[in-house]
């Protein structure tokens, strides 16, 4: 194997913080970075930081960052050696790697075949079962009718989840507590799946309660070497979307870490995976691990792994894409300290997480020992309603969980974003919450411990603490307004009297 083409220019087919992340890696490697932008992003930071930036089209994703033909056209015209897809957008589009290679461009990610398998939950399950990878009890393939779903649910035991084979990121998942509910949900899910993907491809699996979401960072090179870079626990979620990720998981011991890590590497081998990916598992209360899927891209939460392993995943991705072998063995790796990531979204946690957008006149990005912030925010930037609500990732490293938790908390207190609402208040509450501190995590953490109520109470307490300065500010403002009003009157009266007004 060895196409061994040295990448000299790299086009980033993405926007926001991840585009900036890749551009920075290019800078370190002396690679010319090429950015793309929609009308909405002409002033975005990735445009400002890249060596070159090319216009893609109107704001809507389908006309810009999802416009695969246009992106390939630009890459070909400007002579880009490689394309990095980031996450989201085209990153898991199985036609993208093919189109790239047809045009002589290196795609930084897995091959089409692996993407096809990992992108189709049922195909993936079939392959993984052969490789002896443990799964959650449920259907082995797509269910053809409701009666079949009911039979399988009876064997697996209620409650069960009804999932779309083409869903992802929590979309298309429905819960049924009994047969009656399953009948109702099945019809709706089938209709939904048909509308979104053209076919009613559903499957059923046992719903595990009080589960943890634990995933493994994987890398595999074109020489067939696979490595895992340990786990990330991403149990704190809202509507199946991750909010906080950390490494290590508070419940993994050394033996389990390695045992599950080996399974993850085996899963990557089973699909002949290339480049960086993530094997996701669920862990039940008894400590059983069940494989769910491989995400065939660089994950949002990759910095957590970078901080505890000291490995730059984006640079590693580029070297693997160039045909180089992974320069370390599994035993060379160690997990050092602890890292926590908070996903700061432009959403109002006090009003049902409604999206918040607009200009950010000023912001204060925290820094200091152990603090890393991956963001596209800068004073004067704008947050668009066309794209993902993630505006920043705050990642804090510490020698242990406690140090990284306290660093996160302090950094959150320093973090201010004006003009939009963010999820920062929610993370402040969580960092001080007892169950979080004890590592008592599960995917229903928010509901189980009434975290939103707690956040509301914290907000009232914070208001009480700020009572004196807040009233002072209002008094100062009315005084300021009054004085400038008087000043204006003075000026105009002076003007009227030709500057001879008496003082």
């Amino acid at each position: 194997m060895g196409l061994a083409k040295k990448i000299q220019s790299l086009l980033v087919a993405n926007r926001g913080e991840i585009a900036l992340r890749v551009i920075r890696a290019c800078g370190e490697l002396g690679i010319k970075s090429i950015a793309l932008y929609s009308d909405e992003d002409a002033r975005s930071i990735h445009v400002k930081r890249a060596d070159k930036a090319y216009y893609l089209g109107p704001p809507s994703p389908s006309e810009s960052y999802l416009n695969i033909d246009k992106i390939i056209e630009i890459a070909t015209n400007v002579g880009a050696d490689a394309i990095h897809p980031g996450y989201g957008f085209l990153s898991e589009n199985e036609n993208f790697p093919e189109l790239c290679s047809k045009n002589g461009i290196i795609f930084i990610g897995p091959k089409k075949k692996a993407m096809e398998i990992t992108g189709d939950k049922m195909k993936c399950k079939a392959v993984m079962k052969k490789a002896d990878i443990p799964f959650v009890p449920g259907s082995d393939g797509i269910i053809n009718d409701m009666e079949e779903a009911i039979d399988i649910a009876a064997i697996a035991g209620y409650p069960v989840l009804l999932k779309s084979a083409f869903g992802g990121g929590g979309r298309g998942i429905r819960l049924a507590n009994d047969e009656k509910q399953l009948r109702q949900e099945f019809e709706m899910a089938a209709a939904e799946s048909k509308a979104a993907f053209g076919k009613a491809a559903l499957y059923v699996e046992k719903y595990l309660q009080r589960i943890r979401h634990i995933e493994y960072q994987l890398v595999r090179d074109s020489h067939g070497q696979g490595r895992h870079l340990f786990e990330r626990e991403c149990s704190i979620q809202r509507r199946h979307q991750k909010l906080i990720e950390m490494s290590p998981s508070p419940v993994l011991d050394h033996e389990t870490r390695n045992r599950i890590g080996e399974i993850a590497v085996r899963a990557a081998e089973a699909v002949d995976y290339l480049n960086a990916g993530t094997a996701e598992f669920l862990r039940d209360e008894q400590g059983n691990f069940y494989f769910i899927e491989i995400n065939s891209r660089l994950q949002v939460e990759h910095p957590v792994t970078e901080l505890v392993t000291g490995i730059d995943l984006v640079k590693l991705q580029i070297s693997i894409a160039q045909g180089e072998a992974i320069p370390f063995k599994q035993d060379d790796l160690s997990l050092r300290g602890c890292a926590i990531e908070c996903r700061i979204n432009a959403e109002d946690p006090f009003f049902g997480f409604t999206p918040s957008l607009g200009t950010v006149p000023t912001c204060t990005i925290p820094y200091g020992p152990g603090i890393r912030v991956d963001t596209y925010l800068y004073p004067g930037c704008s947050v668009s309603g066309y794209y993902d609500s993630l505006v920043a990732k705050l990642i804090a490293w510490g020698k242990d969980f406690e140090e990284s938790r306290v660093r996160t908390k302090n950094a959150l207190n320093e973090f201010t974003v004006e003009g939009i609402n963010t999820t920062i208040p929610l993370f402040k509450t969580i960092m001080d919450e007892d169950n979080f501190i004890k590592g008592e995590l599960s995917t229903d953490y928010l509901e189980r411990f009434s975290i939103l109520d707690r956040m509301n109470r914290d907000a009232v307490e914070s208001s009480k603490r700020d009572l004196i300065p807040a009233i002072s500010a209002i008094l100062l403002r009315s005084e300021f307004v009054k004085r400038s009003h008087l000043y204006q009157q003075n000026i105009s009266s002076k003007q009227r009297t030709g500057g001879q007004g008496k003082e």
Binding site: V460, I468, E479, S484
Partner: protein, 170 residues
């Protein structure tokens, strides 16, 4: 001026006493005086030192009854009342619930400057019965329920204290 911050349901009183010169300003909040050292001021942004702590305040939105602002990046909503009427109304409806069904009680101390209703008159909830003067403001005491005024307990010119009975409505 009266203020209520966030959802605290606690009313605070605040006023700007005077400028002391040299960028120092004296304010009085809940009866206590604070010296503010101004560092920066604009129409919607202020930096100051208060009680030996630094604060940056940004006025996000300002209306006549509500101000949204951030203090060191923490966002709060402050309700402001130039009149006590609103508080009075709020408290009156509370009193009616708590007990003394028929008793209309004054929520503020003041002097009776006008009487608008007579005994045995039929009144509707919200009708003004008596006008009090308090803190140089005239505040109407309004009927807390529909009914007949059984008794008016106050006379023009009289001074009432908080919780004094104004009238009994049956």
């Amino acid at each position: 001026m009266d203020f209520e911050i966030g959802g605290t349901k606690e009313i605070a009183n605040g006023e700007l006493v005077r400028s002391l010169g040299g960028g120092l300003i004296l304010v009085k909040i809940n009866g206590k005086e604070y010296q503010i050292k101004m560092l920066k001021s604009g129409s919607d942004y202020f930096e100051f030192i208060l009680d030996d702590s630094f604060y940056s305040a940004k006025i996000i939105r300002s209306g006549s009854s509500e101000v949204r602002l951030s203090i060191n990046g923490r966002t709060h909503t402050v309700k402001q009342h130039s009149k006590l009427t609103e508080i009075l109304e709020k408290s009156l409806s509370l009193t009616a619930k708590i007990g003394g069904e028929n008793m209309l009680v004054s929520q503020i101390p003041g002097r009776v400057v006008n009487i608008l209703a007579a005994a045995r008159a039929e009144v509707k909830k919200g009708d003004s019965l008596v006008v009090l003067e308090s803190m140089k403001m005239q505040v109407a005491v309004k009927a807390h329920k529909d009914g007949i005024i059984k008794e008016l307990r106050v006379k023009k010119g009289a001074t009432v204290s908080r919780n004094d009975i104004i009238a009994i409505i049956e």
